[in-house]
Point group: C2
């Protein structure tokens, strides 16, 4: 039986979503909980990897187990065996045709920032941007990112994607004066793509002149070397 | 010279503001940083105590040191010696007549809640209230708290306040659909008063019939035994 679950995690103390030989991954935590609940070892396939320190408000994963359990029992049972930094909110059955990674049509990430002085309750959770942040400038510039482009400029080394062409459906900043949220939705993201675009967006919002269209056209990572810190990045949602 | 500083802290790993024989207090952390920066031991007097796990977005404290340092140097120097869970944002000189505790005219606390499924990034920082939270009911009920009353019902044992009469200037809930903030401003608060009122407000918002005016009139703590968790409470601001 193929189960699909929705889960949320605080990425601070994880080496990321994916299993690492010497790391504490969300995937390992989840697979250990599945084994304890179902009495079977299963591979948990996520909608995509998140890096060390990156959080998820709504990650989606699937796994196959022989045993059939009621869905409420799957939610409660996994949560009983998971560390409190990972919570499952939904579970249901799906068909073999569904693959949490391959079937994903759109993903949305949020990059969380805040104005003013550093607030320790936001440590490991959001980026303090002081007071000089021009949201209108950021939003105007981000129009250049929307559409189907070769995003090679915004791809970190280590990516094994076959193509660096992606379609960005939306990229915008919401700002309530205190909290600033950068949202980006695409059919998929290259390695570190959101954090590299976030770094350029930060520069623009701080008054630096950056031509995102020219950066994209260059298809050259050396033109956009900065990567915004992982701890302010959230996997916000996955659409199928 | 009397210095007054504004500071913020993540209360999770502290035993509270005040020094405890076997605890890690914010006051100790601050006094240790003052000693390292100024080369003098000084008592840091806060606007009030916060309990273990309670956060501060804007605590105010004063201390006396012989050495005169530029204010930017006080901010930067204290932050260099403080753990990252405590950040000083402002420092200035004040007169001997100013006392961070006694001179405080109004204090505001915020109780932070959120709708929906538990999100681990909010662990130790906010209370998950699920989906049944009636903000209008809470706001209507909270009118009974505003004004000058004997708040003995909302005073935990261990309080050594001379009188339990306090003036509440404002008590209301703000709700954006996802994040719910309960704000309360008063000339002072009894021990656990905010958390006890927050617990009753939660009951009301969840549909329980609670008469706050009758509870206040009873002047009897046994009528309001619940105390909302500390980790969702923030000292939000102090006015002088």
């Amino acid at each position: 039986m193929r189960y699909v679950i929705k889960l949320s995690y605080d990425g601070t103390d994880f080496c990321g979503w994916q299993h690492q030989p010497n790391g504490n991954s969300v995937q390992d935590a989840l697979e250990n909980a599945i084994e304890r609940l179902f009495g079977e070892r299963a591979r948990a396939v996520g909608s995509g990897r998140t890096d060390a320190g990156v959080h998820a408000l709504a990650q989606v994963a699937h796994f196959d187990c022989e045993k059939v359990l009621p869905f409420e029992r799957v939610v409660g049972g996994l949560n009983a065996y998971l560390p409190r930094t990972v919570r499952v909110s939904e579970a249901r059955a799906t068909t073999d045709g569904f693959d949490a990674r391959k079937s994903a049509k759109r993903k949305t990430y949020m990059y969380l920032m805040y104005r003013g002085a550093p607030l320790p309750v936001f440590n490991d959770r959001a980026l303090c941007v002081g007071n000089a942040f021009d949201t209108d400038a950021a939003n105007t510039a981000l129009n250049a990112v929307v559409g189907t482009h070769d995003f090679a400029t915004f791809k970190a080394a280590g990516s094994n994607a076959k193509t660096s062409v992606r379609t960005v459906y939306d990229a915008h900043v919401e700002d309530d004066g205190a909290i600033i949220k950068f949202f980006i939705t695409a059919d998929g993201f290259l390695y570190n793509m959101v954090r590299i675009i976030a770094a350029q967006t930060l520069k623009i919002a701080r008054g630096e002149r950056v031509d995102l269209a020219a950066l994209i056209a260059a298809a050259d990572r050396t033109r956009a070397k900065d990567t915004a810190p992982a701890c302010a990045l959230y996997l916000y949602g996955v659409e199928y």
